[in-house]
């Protein structure tokens, strides 16, 4: 039962991603071609509200429902892993038109061939794990 809230949040996420058309390959192309505001509006709204909310959580030391203070951990300082990793991610995002969340929402929507993209995303993650020590971070 403790997981039902995460199931419900996942359902809301899936519905919003599908109904906003953020799962659409066409919308991702439109975004990377700078031909509509739609995707920038979605991400921009989420980030602006996110910045305000996170600042308030820190300012007022807001606690989660377990009673623990909500903490944010700074990510490791580096440039190469974020820039190179991000670029590889972007190449895949523009080709398949989906990042990991939208992949599974698309599968649920009925685009079953998106399963190939998702399975290979798992393979890609596995390959990263195998070669991690050899990559510059």
């Amino acid at each position: 039962m403790k997981f039902i809230k995460f199931l419900l949040l996942g359902i809301v996420f899936g519905v919003v991603m599908a109904k906003s058309e953020a799962i659409s390959w066409f919308r991702i192309q439109e975004m990377f071609r700078f031909q509509a505001f739609h995707m920038y509006g979605i991400i921009g709204t989420a980030v602006i509200l996110g910045v305000i909310g996170v600042a308030l959580i820190k300012r007022f030391k807001i606690r989660d429902f377990h009673g623990n203070q909500i903490l944010f951990y700074p990510k490791d300082k580096s440039i190469i892993r974020y820039l190179v990793g991000g670029t590889i991610f972007g190449l895949g995002w523009a080709l398949s038109g989906a990042c990991p969340g939208p992949m599974v929402v698309s599968i649920g929507y009925g685009f079953l061939t998106m399963s190939i993209v998702f399975l290979f995303a798992i393979v890609g993650t596995y390959l990263y794990g195998v070669f991690k020590e050899k990559l510059p971070h």
Partner: protein, 185 residues
């Protein structure tokens, strides 16, 4: 009301909902990062025996796998209950650009040229989806996050690494869109 629900949801409502999901996850003691599931799936498959990166207590990530299952259900509901069945209304400029690549104007949410059964049964069609997925999976873990972890959660916390990752997302995305896609299609 029915029409209001079945049409495309506005960017401001959708963006607000995504921020709300992020805050609910924080309130429940977790954080919003979808691609972590890919690593969790590798660990749950037992790959941690040979590869250290997958040797961690993946069961602590069960909540995120449940979120993933919910996302699949959400996609199903969006199509079965909340959809008007109209194709994506992308801009005419995008339709024109894509037609030069041989990709027809939208008939649904995804192009048949990439996602139909016919498409994936060709070697090229299969490779497009496989390589695309491979790069998303590899890149998200190398960068330590995807759109949810970096572009939404990380930027909300004003983290410089996330900004660098998002710049990378766009370098890769623009290179694929303007230089590589014309070579493929």
């Amino acid at each position: 009301m029915r029409e209001f629900i079945t049409q495309t949801w506005s960017w401001w409502f959708s963006g607000t909902m995504i921020a709300a999901i992020m805050f609910f996850l924080l309130y429940f003691g977790q954080s919003f990062g979808f691609s972590a599931n890919l690593r969790t799936i590798c660990a749950a498959a037992g790959l941690g025996k040979k590869t250290k990166f997958f040797d961690f207590n993946w069961k602590a990530q069960t909540w995120n796998l449940v979120f993933l299952v919910g996302a699949i259900v959400g996609g199903f509901i969006a199509n079965q209950v909340l959809s008007s069945g109209t194709p994506v209304e992308i801009s005419q400029a995008t339709i024109n650009d894509l037609s030069k690549l041989g990709i027809a104007a939208p008939a649904s949410l995804q192009p048949a040229e990439l996602f139909s059964l016919d498409a994936i049964l060709s070697i090229k069609g299969f490779l497009v989806l496989a390589v695309g997925g491979l790069m998303v999976g590899f890149g998200s873990r190398y960068a330590g996050g995807c759109t949810s972890g970096h572009a939404i959660s990380g930027l909300s916390d004003l983290q410089v690494p996330s900004l660098i990752a998002v710049i990378g997302f766009f370098i890769g995305g623009l290179a694929m869109t303007f230089f590589i896609l014309p070579l493929i299609f």
